[in-house]
């Protein structure tokens, strides 16, 4: 890079790149046609692109807990994949004629919704919800809705009595009798077509056929359940299109303000958009869908594409302005920028790839997709863009703007370059030290995992989470479920010894702070034994008599044991899913297994949303440091290779480290935990952030070599690449900044963190780097022999 750019090929340009450049430009028409065809092909592939919220990808599949969970997945599938529709009477209790009529209508409506397991549907109006009473002759019972129900006060009174006898208070009927639940278990596959359940469609059906149809001022509908959550997630994710449009428009405006040239703006946007189309089109070919995490990638690809385009259109405009024809200018641009562009993209791509050390598929996929996107950018922005520019040229306005710019004195850059003066540099270094210490202290308080109640994927005040909160407030249930699987030899799960061990385990776990209650077939067994003894609570205990036990287990719901009676899920209901709570639960459960696991019964952790979260936390806790070591290791090696100087490498890396630390401190301050969504942010930030330092220091070294003093050299460096770096930082920040408004909480967290990282990395490169250069004694001539020759 040079402010006085040579308009003819020089020794520095080598022989390969001029050859390639000439070749490319000679074949520019067929090449552009090829790009058009490929873009059409990838565009056509977009048909196959599906939103994807696969649960399995978001979990650390090789952690022992998850291995245990996945091994028993089929047997655990009956646990909880149900939708709960809560119908609330705002003006009284549920025992009114109008309310019951609506409830009956909604029950009928839900019965016919596709995906609902009709036999398992439960509400006060389904025949499987019964009351039971022991009489002298034996059991008597019936449907909760009296056979002769006619809506009269007497019938309603009978209904109330039956409800009390049914034992459904706190389960189907709220503790305050003001609402009642319709439980709709779901079938994973359509029994007729064999197709997988379409969560999005189901969620839409529930909205249209239940909530929109029946909700009034007096009657509120609340819907919870994993299927509804996934539906809401996919709905929320579809807003991403809007975010992309907003980011696109803002970027276009910024580009135009920067270049004042509609042709350059058009060419940069076109090539970056083509990169996004290719990247998205590659997904179905690689057999991937667009999950809420990898939705980040198009934004990154677009932003990185724009920032490299800025370098290219800047150089092209400069060359064109210097009265070279557009074709020659395009060729020279390619010759001069393909190498630094390639190295910068390489460092981005490798930085992303380091994310693959994290053992969570969604992050590994994110790494792969992002690296692929970066590879695509090499083609679209380093090759296609100069070709397009060779046709379009630059506009007249751009020429005038260039003139103005050259004549200005770059006053703001002049002021900024003072950062390299000793007095200012000392101040900056001191301030950074303070920030470093403060950041370090705050970063220690960083929490692992999700910190908010409800479904962590959505915002605390989203409708889904409000509905969930309503459920937990009014019913005896919790949404944070930790499942421990008790394994026995086949057919032994109902043995007294197995059940006694499970019973004892439950007793131990119920004493752990944060555990509300425990449930397994032991509880059912005790209740049935009590029922067989006329409901007398004195019989609420296990029996060593196997006949009695077998009898008591004959009515256990099938989801509480597997088909060959070798595994019993023990369900722990937790107060929340904070990392501290989960740690206590794990410690207690592991302690029990160490003491009591044997060949007869072994308790294995862990399933349920809280169990999965616990395993994820464990993986993330270790992965965070591993990932930082890897990503910093990679960028340090790249810097050392490029500059062959430890001091320069330190000048570039230290500002990045400060940003990483401040990022962690920010997370601690804002209450954002380290989780699947926020873990990759630091690696992405470092991978892209290192570009700034490389550009700036390359220019700085060039001018230092020319014999300028530090401040002049830095001023010159800012003049050539300062604008591009600042612009890059802003485009990247804007690209991901729109995510802050996502209804999906983890996307918002990601957006916020990335915006912060990209912006601070830029500030670090422009302000802290020169101060560090002073600190490490960068002087004219001194680095000539050791620094790279500035070609990069």
């Amino acid at each position: 890079m040079s402010s006085e750019e040579s308009l003819t090929l020089t020794e520095e340009d080598g022989r390969l790149r001029p050859f390639l450049g000439a070749l490319l430009l000679r074949a520019r028409a067929p090449l552009i046609l090829l790009f058009v065809i490929l873009t059409a092909f990838f565009g056509w592939q977009l048909r196959g692109l599906r939103p994807d919220a696969s649960f399995e990808k978001m979990i650390p599949v090789s952690h022992p807990y998850i291995v245990n969970f996945l091994e028993n997945r089929e047997d655990l599938s009956g646990l909880g994949n149900a939708v709960r529709i809560i119908v609330e009477n705002k003006n009284g209790d549920i025992f009114s004629r109008e309310f019951q009529q609506t409830l009956q209508e909604i029950t009928d409506e839900v019965f016919y919704i596709n995906g609902v397991d009709r036999a398992g549907l439960q509400s006060l109006w389904t025949p499987n919800v019964r009351w039971l009473e022991v009489t002298e002759e034996g059991f008597v019972g019936g449907a909760v809705i009296p056979d002769d129900y006619d809506g009269s006060p007497q019938a309603l009174e009978k209904l109330r009595a039956n409800t009390l006898k049914s034992g459904q208070i706190g389960r189907l009927v709220a503790n305050n009798f003001r609402s009642t639940i319709i439980v709709a278990p779901l079938v994973e596959r359509d029994p007729k077509t064999g197709e997988r359940l379409d969560y999005q469609q189901l969620s839409a059906d529930l909205e249209a056929l239940v909530r929109d149809k029946y909700q009034t001022e007096d009657l509120r509908i609340h819907i919870t359940g994993f299927a509804k959550l996934v539906g809401d997630l996919i709905d929320g994710a579809s807003l991403v299109g809007t975010f992309f449009a907003v980011a696109f428009v803002i970027t276009a405006v910024m580009l135009f303000l920067y270049s004042r040239c509609h042709w350059s703006t058009f060419a940069a946007l076109l090539c970056s958009t083509v990169a996004v189309v290719w990247q998205l089109g590659l997904l179905p070919i690689m057999g991937l869908g667009l999950d809420p995490y990898s939705m980040l990638v198009p934004f990154l690809v677009f932003a990185v594409g724009i920032s490299h385009s800025v370098q290219i259109i800047n150089r092209f405009a400069h060359l064109s302005h210097s009265a070279v024809d557009t074709r020659e200018a395009a060729k020279l641009t390619f010759v001069r920028l393909s190498k630094p562009g390639f190295i910068a993209l390489l460092s981005d791509g490798v930085g992303f790839l380091t994310l693959r050390v994290i053992d969570i598929p969604v992050i590994q996929e994110l790494a792969l997709i992002a690296s692929t996107g970066i590879a695509v950018l090499v083609l679209t922005n380093l090759i296609l863009l100069p070709l397009v520019l060779s046709y379009t040229g630059i506009s007249q306005r751009c020429h005038r703007y260039r003139d103005d710019k050259l004549n200005s004195e770059y006053r703001h850059w002049h002021q900024l370059s003072a950062a390299s003066l000793p007095r200012n540099a000392k101040l900056i270094v001191a301030a950074c030290t303070v920030l470093f210490a403060g950041g370090w202290w705050l970063a220690q308080q960083q929490k692992i995992g999700d910190l908010d109640p409800g479904a962590p994927e959505l915002r605390p005040h989203s409708r889904y989470n409000l509905d969930t909160a309503f459920l937990t407030d009014n019913y005896s249930t919790s949404t944070d479920v930790f499942v421990v699987m008790a394994h026995t030899p086949p057919q032994q799960c109902g043995n007294y010894q197995s059940l006694a061990a499970i019973d004892h385990f439950q007793a131990v776990m119920e004493n752990v702070p944060g555990v509300q209650s425990a449930l397994s077939l032991v509880d059912i067994s005790k209740l049935v034994i009590m029922g067989m003894n006329e409901g007398n609570p004195q019989w609420h205990a296990l029996s060593r008599n196997q006949y009695i036990l077998n009898n008591s287990l004959s009515r256990v719901p099938s989801n509480l044991l597997n088909t060959d009676c070798s595994m019993v899920p023990v369900i722990l209901f937790l107060e929340d899913h904070k990392a501290d709570t989960l740690d206590q639960v794990i410690a207690a459960a592991e302690g029990f297994t160490e003491q009591y696991n044997s060949e007869h019964i072994s308790f294995r952790l862990a399933a349920g949303n809280a169990g999965v979260e616990a395993a994820t936390n464990i993986v993330i806790r270790t992965a965070q440091n591993r990932m930082l070591i890897w990503v910093y290791g990679v960028v340090i090696v790249l810097c050392l290779l490029n500059f062959r100087s430890l001091k320069i490498t330190a000048c570039i890396i230290l500002p990045l480290m400060l940003t990483s630390l401040l990022g962690q401190a920010l997370m601690a301050m804002l209450g954002i935990g380290v989780k699947v969504a926020t873990l990759p942010v630091i690696a992405l930030g470092v991978g892209i952030g290192v570009d700034y330092g490389i550009y700036i220091y390359t220019a700085l070294a060039h001018f230092l070599r020319e014999g300028q003093d530090l401040r002049s050299a830095y001023f010159s460096a800012l003049k050539t690449s300062g604008t591009a770096v600042a612009f890059t930082g802003l485009t990247l920040a804007v690209g991901v900044g729109t995510w802050i408004y996502s209804p999906i909480k983890f996307q918002a967290d990601m957006g916020l963190m990335l915006t912060f990282m990209f912006f601070w990395n830029m500030v670090g490169a422009l302000l802290v780097l020169p101060a560090l250069a002073w600190l490490f004694g960068a002087k004219p001539h001194q680095q000539v022999t050791s620094a790279a020759d500035g070609k990069a």
């Binding site: 009390l164 004892h504 702070p513 409901g535 007398n536 609570p537 609420h540 060593r544």
Partner: protein, 390 residues
């Protein structure tokens, strides 16, 4: 009562066949239990210290002086000197679920429960030690049945041919005894199964413990030795015994499954069957002066004012009644399913109430200073008296 059915269907098999079957069953039982001999018998572990103990399943509550003592699931014993506001957990060496507790004064008390366990406390319920367990009960029962079988066989031997009718009857009873012997041998293999459902003491020495399948044991030395007392009571179907209580004159009443009602005038040695006046379960007996009341399934209540000879039916409560007590002022309180309870001041009919928890109660006790605490599936709850709670 599955064993009863089995007796009926197989009664007519030749005895030799059944003895072979029994031998096989016994040896199989040995193999099965032998092979699944676990390192851990969780009931033998000391009771866990539990968080929020007052919310756990509690099955019986009583007074020890001014203190309330409650027992419940997995060996939990709690005591409260604050009328049930706060609870402390006692030290208990086993985790059997306890169904019954009784104190004769502020210091000495006994608790009984599942696995045939009987515990004693000499310090007002703070620490407990074991007096008796289901293994001992199983051995005593086996001996008892063996003796009965032997004496029946002996009697049959001594009969001559002219007493054919009597012989048939005795052979029939001998068959039953053979079966009971098989069951008893199996039970010994299975381990301590059957629960005690009530324990009662008249003074520091004499007590009775009763339970499932006709379990009945007596002590005359404060529980040092518990001795099977099945000889003094007729219960051929081995129905459960639920509750023992004494009236002012020292008459003992015992209620049980299938409308069983007995009276003993000699402290529990010999029991005389009363009734029958009901065929459902009578879960409890409560006395007031010379008056005795039995209550049970579906809220049925029966009262006798002549020492148990004649019984009259009182209006039934709309819920099963599982426990009851008499307060110092003579008010009888009965508690039961779904949070229901009855208040019966002396000389007035019962009024029915519903506790807002709606959770089943198993037992109730006054604390001696006007407060009443019920226990059940949701732990302990203060019962408001007098004013309507519904």
């Amino acid at each position: 009562m599955t064993n009863n059915n089995k007796q009926v269907t197989a009664r007519h098999w030749p005895r030799i066949v059944r003895q072979v079957c029994a031998a096989i069953a016994l040896s199989l039982a040995g193999v099965v239990t032998g092979s699944s001999a676990y390192a851990n018998d969780f009931e033998a572990l000391p009771a866990l210290t539990v968080a929020e103990a007052g919310k756990r399943v509690l099955l019986d509550i009583t007074r020890a002086g001014g203190r309330l003592v409650a027992v419940g699931e997995r060996g939990v014993v709690l005591y409260s000197d604050t009328g049930g506001d706060t609870w402390q957990q006692a030290v208990v060496p086993h985790s059997n679920t306890l169904t019954s507790v009784t104190f004769i004064d502020a210091q000495n008390g006994w608790a009984a429960g599942h696995g045939g366990i009987i515990l004693h406390s000499g310090d007002g319920g703070q620490t407990w030690h074991k007096q008796f367990d289901g293994n001992q009960a199983n051995r005593q029962w086996l001996n008892f049945i063996q003796q009965r079988r032997d004496s029946l066989a002996e009697t049959i031997e001594e009969l001559d041919d002219s007493q054919q009718a009597e012989r048939d009857d005795l052979e029939y009873r001998l068959d039953d005894a053979e079966y009971a012997l098989e069951d008893a041998a199996l039970a010994l293999q299975t381990g301590p199964v059957d629960p005690f459902l009530d324990i009662w003491f008249g003074d520091a020495k004499n007590g009775v413990a009763v339970g499932a399948y006709g379990m009945i044991y007596r002590t005359e030395d404060g529980g040092e030795n518990w001795v099977i007392a099945a000889a003094g009571i007729e219960n051929p179907d081995r129905y459960h015994y639920y509750d023992v209580d004494a009236d002012r004159s020292g008459r003992l009443y015992l209620s049980g499954e299938a409308g069983l009602m007995y009276r003993s005038l000699d402290g529990g040695r010999q029991w005389q069957r009363l009734g029958p006046f009901y065929d459902g379960s009578l879960f409890g007996v409560v006395t007031r002066g010379e008056e005795v009341m039995a209550y049970g399934l579906r809220g049925h209540i029966f009262k006798s004012v002549d020492g148990g000879t004649r019984w009259q039916s009182l209006p039934a409560a709309p819920f099963s009644l599982y426990g009851g007590t008499r307060l110092a002022d003579g008010t009888v309180i009965l508690v039961g399913a779904g949070g229901g309870y009855l208040l019966g001041p002396e000389g007035a009919p019962f009024t029915s109430k519903l506790h807002p928890s709606r959770s089943s109660f198993s037992s109730v006790s006054g604390d001696g200073s006007g407060r009443v605490v019920a226990v059940g599936m949701n732990g302990a709850a203060a019962l408001p008296q007098g004013e309507a709670s519904e």
